[in-house]
């Protein structure tokens, strides 16, 4: 890569917050993530707005998933992974010493790329989280299970077979079950890692509609490869790319509408218009 490109990246100081748009729920400051010696993310600054959908886009291997997994400290599970900088949730640094990881993971839920229900009943899948946090009474669990499955727009399809295996559902239903499972512990932020990429277009549409409902209560951060999806569902979009040392950097962050119609960075424009990536 030539000098000009290097310059461009090191100067890519975008505004981490889009002003006048309500409160920041999650605040990322100078985040860098290392896998052993390899720097996977560098200089990430980002403010995620409460009760909005923030999309993270960018070409494969640019660290989108690594960034997403930093929000609930899922990176802790990867051997050799180190995090520098700070991520705060409601102003509290989640990487500060003494912070309870379990508490962070309850407040920041996660939905994965492929539907991954536990080998349990539909009910057992959704009740798994609440049970972890000490809810034992059957009437309480029943209430949480119904509420969560309703929120995930799955209730009518499964209400008569709550005790069948979660794996007996179709792919799209399984993914909504996984969303219900994540919602059951009443998180504040929901992370979604390409939640529809393994689903057919109709199931994808349902997940997208569901996200619009969910943002009334939750702050959603979604990683997606699908430009149309980012444009359709999100309020804010963060564009990421790797620099010449293969570290992922955020090159632009703005309202989705702006990113897709008047991006400031040429590379963002190229990417969202499909000229590369």
């Amino acid at each position: 890569m030539d000098m000009e490109m290097k310059m461009e990246i090191s100067e890519s100081v975008y505004k981490p917050i889009v002003e006048g748009d309500g409160q920041a729920k999650v605040d990322v400051k100078n985040l860098a993530v290392y896998y052993s010696k390899f720097r996977a993310l560098a200089d990430i600054n980002l403010s995620v707005h409460e009760q909005k959908i923030t999309a993270i886009i960018g070409p494969s291997g640019c660290g989108k998933s690594t960034l997403l997994r930093s929000f609930n400290r899922m990176n802790d599970l990867t051997p050799g992974c180190r995090v520098q900088g700070a991520i705060s949730l409601d102003g509290e640094d989640i990487y500060a010493p003494g912070v309870d990881v379990v508490d962070i993971r309850r407040r920041v839920g996660m939905v994965f790329q492929r539907p991954n229900p536990f080998p349990k009943s539909i009910y057992g899948n959704v009740a798994y989280g609440p049970r972890l946090y000490g809810i034992r009474r059957k009437s309480d669990l029943d209430e949480i299970v119904e509420k969560s499955i309703r929120q995930a727009a799955l209730w009518d399809e499964v209400k008569d077979k709550l005790h069948q295996s979660g794996l007996s559902l179709s792919g799209g239903q399984q993914q909504r079950l996984c969303i219900a499972r994540a919602l059951a512990v009443e998180p504040e932020v929901v992370l979604m890692d390409e939640p529809a990429s393994a689903l057919d277009p109709i199931s994808t549409l349902r997940i997208e509609e569901l996200m619009q409902d969910l943002k009334k209560e939750y702050t959603i951060i979604i990683v997606t490869h699908n430009m149309q999806q980012a444009a359709r569902v999100s309020d804010y979009t963060a564009m990421m790319m790797i620099d010449d040392q293969r570290a992922g950097r955020m090159i632009e962050y703005d309202r989705t509408n702006t990113i897709f119609t008047r991006p400031k960075d040429k590379r963002t424009e190229d990417y969202v218009t499909g000229r590369f990536g």
Binding site: R106, N116, Q164, A182
Partner: protein
């Protein structure tokens, strides 16, 4: 049409014929070899069925062996002995095997994990007679007598590598995101393992148990040096005597495992080398019982797996 296309086109017909001939030849060759490979299996099963089937009857299952010269009698002692020894083997092998497998699957690249995997492979290559010798010197000699306990321990060593390897493989097949989903909900590691990882791998793990069990049940050499054989072994009798003597349940169970026991492979081995036709006939019947026992364990393991995976997929 270009020059090359013409060249390539020229031998189209003969090439097609060539391909068909080659296809048919290879297909019949592989089919033939497959059939050849199946012959020993069906031969053994058929032969044992015919020779053993002639000599088998209900008495065979419910009576102790009778002295030579008397007709009738059965191999109850051997059947009971095999059940006792394989049960003990499962009891000794499954808990440590599963835990070791969990360690190997979870921490594959730690020094202990590497050593564990390597020594498991070595252990599976140790001849079973050597395992018998080990159990003899480690258990029979210190205890001063042969016992079902020593036989169970020997078979446990035989089962251990199979259990560790299959359990490890099955745990590794569970998608990483399943584990992450549980940890992502805030579940601790032990809870994730117990209520997500193991249930997801359970059907494969149980198959591993059953296959290891079926293999151990047919072992002769380790039992020769540990259980000795005991044609008077009768659990019912031991129980009755124990109850009449007002012994505790523990004492009764202990006396079952703490004495020499018979077993099917051992009975087969003993009977088959005797010069009396009725014993040889009984050896065939024992072979049939042993074979059916192993086949039933194997087949039920596979059927159970299939039903389970079908149920899981709906």
């Amino acid at each position: 049409m270009s020059h090359f296309a013409e060249l390539m086109d020229r031998n189209r017909v003969s090439r097609g014929r060539q391909r068909k001939v080659a296809n048919a030849t290879m297909l019949s060759l592989t089919g033939l070899v497959t059939a050849l490979a199946l012959i020993p299996l069906f031969w053994i099963i058929g032969y044992v069925l015919i020779r053993g089937g002639k000599n088998i009857n209900l008495d065979f299952f419910i009576h102790l062996p009778r002295p030579l010269g008397m007709t009738g009698g059965g191999v109850l002692s051997a059947i009971e002995g095999t059940l006792v020894v394989t049960f003990l083997a499962a009891l000794f092998a499954i808990p440590p095997g599963v835990l070791a497998a969990f360690y190997a699957a979870r921490y594959p690249n730690t020094p202990l994990g590497v050593v564990l995997r390597f020594s498991t492979d070595v252990l599976s290559g140790v001849p079973s007679i050597v395992v018998g010798l080990f159990a003899y010197s480690a258990i029979v000699v210190p205890m001063g007598h042969y016992s079902g306990l020593a036989g169970g321990a020997a078979l446990a060593v035989i089962m251990l590598p199979t259990i560790i390897r299959t359990t490890e493989e099955m745990l590794k097949l569970v998608p990483a995101t399943l584990r992450e989903a549980s940890l992502g909900l805030g579940a601790p590691e032990w809870k994730t393992s117990l209520s997500v990882l193991f249930p997801a791998a359970s059907s494969g793990i149980v198959t591993g148990f059953l296959l290891a069990l079926a293999r151990a049940a047919g072992e002769t050499a380790p039992l020769l040096m540990t259980t000795l054989g005991n044609e008077r072994f009768d659990i019912g009798q031991i129980f009755r005597a124990g109850v009449q003597g007002h012994k505790s349940v523990f004492t009764i169970l202990w006396s079952i495992v703490n004495q020499p026991v018979d077993s099917l492979p051992l009975a087969l081995w003993k009977y088959a080398q005797q010069p009396y036709p009725e014993r040889v006939q009984q050896a065939w019947a024992v072979a049939l019982v042993l074979m059916l026992f192993v086949l039933i364990v194997n087949i039920s393991a596979r059927v159970w797996i299939q039903n389970r995976s079908r149920r899981m997929k709906g």
